[in-house]
Symmetry: C2
């Protein structure tokens, strides 16, 4: 499918593309890797560059059921050849999709509202939380990412330093038991209690909390899986102060953790609002905000909601097709199986390479934290960057994450199998051995 090229022709083409890109898209865009990849084709867990070279994709969660999944492509093609309008006419797709999504939720979460991106889903969550509570404060975790709009960038503490945050934003530490300030048996409670301080800080500014928003596996902080009890206690604290608990499932949701369909289910907790995005449409822009009916009613008493593209028949067809494949191919179970296999393999490598300081996460959402010194746990930022680049050169795509960018983030499409895990483990072994 990819035409082979004469040696050098594609690197010249890449250089031309790079120059045009910089000129036309401007300076705010970033590319992955020291030598950027010019990817031209995708299939399952594979990405293929302009030279026909294959890369194992261990990073992209957007192609949830695999790059160019034919069932999803067919569903999109059929629907967009038939009709694409919006939610101001009746159509079965968005209703069927809402039905199937809500069937995956606790009964109390019974209303689904649609948008196009995780940023929009979180924007709507904040609007509903503020309308329903009458409060404006938002508590987020340190080094969080929740979107690229103004309000979601303000609560993305990774991107907005404390000095630039509006007064209605306060951050609490992510409940990191490897590197954080609390590591003992009471760590979950002590981290949750940080919300009391955050509420007091807001109070000192005359602000009450509308919500605590948190990834149920905290991604940007380094794929921190909250310790048991943390989310439930944090939810109780923010509710006591009149705020809501918003579970951001953009990354952990849709079966990725293997154990549950949504990250929040690990604690039997029922959030007030759940947001989701990236993987829902396998690359088609689709996102949702799921809320309890009483909250939707309070929001609707103040305003109506319309999103031109959100929940249109084509987007809903993409969402339905992704659920079809997830269920038909039992990909949640696959995430659990392959995730355990991968974790076990990483554990064996950790026994041989002291630079692997921690392995964490669930299912196909894992992190490998690299350290200079396993006792001091000094972040191995340079090593992590080199590992990512060496893996890329060996045909495996990963990236770093966390405040010190010393953590490998592993978050492949859900069709990632044991054989792919073995290939990665073999290459990681060689990369670490060569250092």
């Amino acid at each position: 499918m990819t035409q082979s090229k004469r040696p050098g022709s594609s690197s010249a083409e890449t250089a031309r593309l790079l120059a045009r890109r910089k000129r036309l898209l401007g300076p705010a865009y970033r590319l992955f890797y020291r030598e950027p990849l010019h990817i031209v084709r995708g299939e399952g867990v594979w990405l293929i560059d302009a030279d026909g070279r294959r890369y194992l994709d261990m990073y992209n969660n957007v192609p949830h059921v695999g790059h160019c999944n034919p069932h999803v492509v067919d569903a999109l093609t059929r629907q967009m050849s038939t009709l694409n309008t919006h939610t101001r006419y009746l159509h079965g797709n968005v209703i069927d999709y809402a039905d199937r999504l809500l069937a995956r939720m606790p009964a109390a979460l019974d209303v689904a509202m649609f948008s196009c991106t995780g940023s929009e889903a979180n924007e709507l969550a904040l609007r509903i939380a503020r309308a329903a509570t009458g409060n404006i404060g938002v508590i987020a975790t340190e080094f969080s990412y929740h979107g690229n709009t103004q309000a979601t960038a303000a609560i993305s503490t990774e991107d907005t330093p404390e000095s630039e945050r509006p007064p209605w934003v306060v951050a609490v530490p992510a409940p990191d038991l490897y590197r954080g300030q609390h590591r003992g048996e009471d760590a979950a409670a002590r981290y949750a209690d940080c919300l009391q301080d955050a509420i007091a800080t807001l109070g000192s500014r005359g602000i009450a909390p509308a919500a605590f928003i948190v990834d149920t596996i905290i991604s940007s902080s380094g794929v921190v899986a909250p310790p048991p009890g943390y989310l439930a206690r944090a939810a109780a604290i923010v509710r006591e102060a009149g705020g809501l608990f918003i579970a951001d499932e953009v990354q952990p949701g849709l079966g990725r953790t293997g154990r549950h369909f949504w990250g929040f289910e690990a604690e039997g907790l029922v959030p007030d609002i759940v947001t989701m995005g990236k993987p829902m449409g396998n690359g088609h822009p689709l996102a949702a905000t799921v809320v309890q009916r009483a909250l939707a009613e309070r929001f609707a008493s103040k305003t109506s909601y319309f999103n031109t593209f959100g929940g249109n028949p084509v987007s809903a067809a993409a969402g339905l097709a992704v659920l079809d494949v997830l269920e038909r191919d039992d990909l949640q179970q696959n995430a659990l199986d392959v995730g355990e296999h991968l974790k076990a393999g990483l554990g064996r490598l950790a026994g041989r390479y002291p630079s692997i300081g921690d392995i964490r996460g669930h299912g196909l959402f894992l992190a490998v934290e690299l350290v200079e010194d396993s006792d001091a746990r000094t972040p191995a930022t340079r090593l992590a960057a080199d590992v990512v680049e060496n893996l890329r050169d060996r045909g495996i795509l990963t990236n770093t994450i966390g405040p010190d960018a010393n953590i490998l983030k592993l978050r492949p499409p859900m069709v990632f199998r044991r054989e792919h895990a073995d290939l990665f483990l073999e290459q990681l072994d060689e990369v670490l051995a060569a250092r």
Copy 2:
């Protein structure tokens, strides 16, 4: 293609869908028409309901080159069968698309940044304007609509009453020469000078303006085409106060006005930022923020920009295909021709029906303002609602707009031809005659 049904079966199905929709999507969603339409198929300017009944679509601008345009569907299908990733790998599509969009712009507007919706495009515009100017104030027109996120809802004065607007938002009247406070020869200047008052109001709150944002044909106010000189003078005033001029081209852009490719070109004005959305991908969620390089550089010195779905290879393929069809079929010229034809026909009806108080707009973006009394210009809100419903019953889809909902908004797909205009004019004549 649509199967015919036994009488009554589709209305029973519609009732079931309505009940499920209300339960699953909650109370914040709205449907068009007293009897909502259950649309199942689209083709060109036509929408077809579950009973196989055809409706002439005079309202939807999202299917810019026609419902289910085969060139766009083919381009999307080909690209999504091949690759769909994001802008952190190199890909030609987003670069080619940026190139073709920017070639349609004044030379100074030389950087294109991509997102998924008009809300996101305006969010990014506001972030850039604030980062570049160091100011936070935003001036918008009264009864405007710029999006559904928190910040864009705040500047959507249609949705956010003055008492609920944050202090950084001030509204100026739309330059409406039919109904507004200024109607004389100096109306353009007097309306533009309202920005001085807005800047003074912001100043009294200790706030300087980051931007004036305006549709270049002001849609929600009732398709108000700014009088010559208004936009240029308004831009000069906001720039003098340290702010930027943002042209919201979500509705007037991409050739719809017939005269120009972008609404701002009517004045030879070069905006600092141009935003666009709805019609770009013919229904695929695609939007852009085009800025002058110096502004992009000031933004990039503070933060980077990434939008997971924005500018991906599939979205860019949709955008390229829409430009292909616009150019190949000379649809801007068609908008001019058919728009003039439609306006002339409406003019003839106005001679016979005094309830037609005003006809305005350009190309295929027109408004028919209905009044109780042509001297007093009393808004005919009830009449307008009845006309919309009667037209719907006769197989023609329009809707009302404006603060008094007495204005018919005509904004069909760009493949709308003279024969379609004639069909509409004939039906509108009969509807008005029957009253």
